[in-house]
């Protein structure tokens, strides 16, 4: 009787082994969200650059983008193309991606996503051209030439 139990035990072990092996394998590689974000933002960058130069869009203290005037939001991002997105649609898409990026960096650096956004705002202010508009923490729009960032 004992050999029968032994054979059954071996069979069970052999059948179960592949299942355990499958569980221990690393999960199928997730699509690289960061790379996807970067690709989308990279494609959107020339359009946003143009909108910033045209002073339709400015950077904010929170590290996001916003139409400098609310009325600009409804304008076509490319006035020559009637099928193009509105400025609001471009801004919303960019901000969605930026928020996702802030979440990723926040996890990696162990800080709050809002802090990552603020750091992005500081970075954008430093890199902005003199005429570019920037929305301060109190909601006031100012041009870069009128702002003196003081590092601490």
């Amino acid at each position: 009787m004992k050999p029968v139990f032994g054979i059954v035990a071996i069979c069970v072990a052999l059948c179960a082994a592949p299942a355990f092996a499958q569980e221990k394998q690393p999960p199928q590689q997730q699509p690289d969200v960061r790379a996807q974000l970067k690709e989308r933002m990279k494609q959107r960058a020339p359009l946003l650059d143009r909108l910033r130069v045209e002073q339709k869009v400015g950077e904010t203290f929170e590290g996001l983008v916003e139409p400098v005037k609310a009325s600009y939001g409804g304008e076509k991002a490319d006035p020559r193309d009637p099928k193009s997105q509105t400025i609001s649609e471009v801004v919303d898409a960019e901000n969605r991606d930026r928020r996702a990026l802030f979440e990723i960096i926040a996890k990696e650096t162990n800080v709050a996503p809002a802090e990552v956004g603020k750091q992005n705002g500081i970075r954008n202010l430093e890199r902005a051209s003199a005429q570019q508009w920037f929305k301060l923490q109190d909601g006031k729009w100012v041009q870069k030439k009128d702002v003196r960032p003081e590092k601490r």
Binding site: A45, R50, K69, A70, V116
Partner: protein, 74 residues
């Protein structure tokens, strides 16, 4: 008599000079204190490595315009 008084008064007032002092208008830059987080800045620099600094794109000259106030937007 009245006419003479009015004429004398008119002459007196016309001799007065008015000086209004206008203080020079000075636009001072807005100072913003920023706390730089080096680790986060490095991550952001790495991610946005495709960005170009202003002037590198050959973008057209910017126009001057006034944005509406916060109150006007909301």
């Amino acid at each position: 008599m009245c006419a003479a008084l009015v004429a004398a008064g008119a002459c007196a007032t016309s001799c007065l000079s008015h000086e209004v002092e206008v203080a020079p208008i000075e636009v001072k830059p807005i100072h913003v204190t920023v706390d730089v987080n080096v680790r986060v800045q490095r991550e952001l620099d790495e991610f946005f490595d495709y960005e170009q600094r202003p002037g590198e794109t050959g973008a057209p000259q910017q126009q001057q315009q006034e944005p509406e106030t916060k109150e006007g937007k909301r």
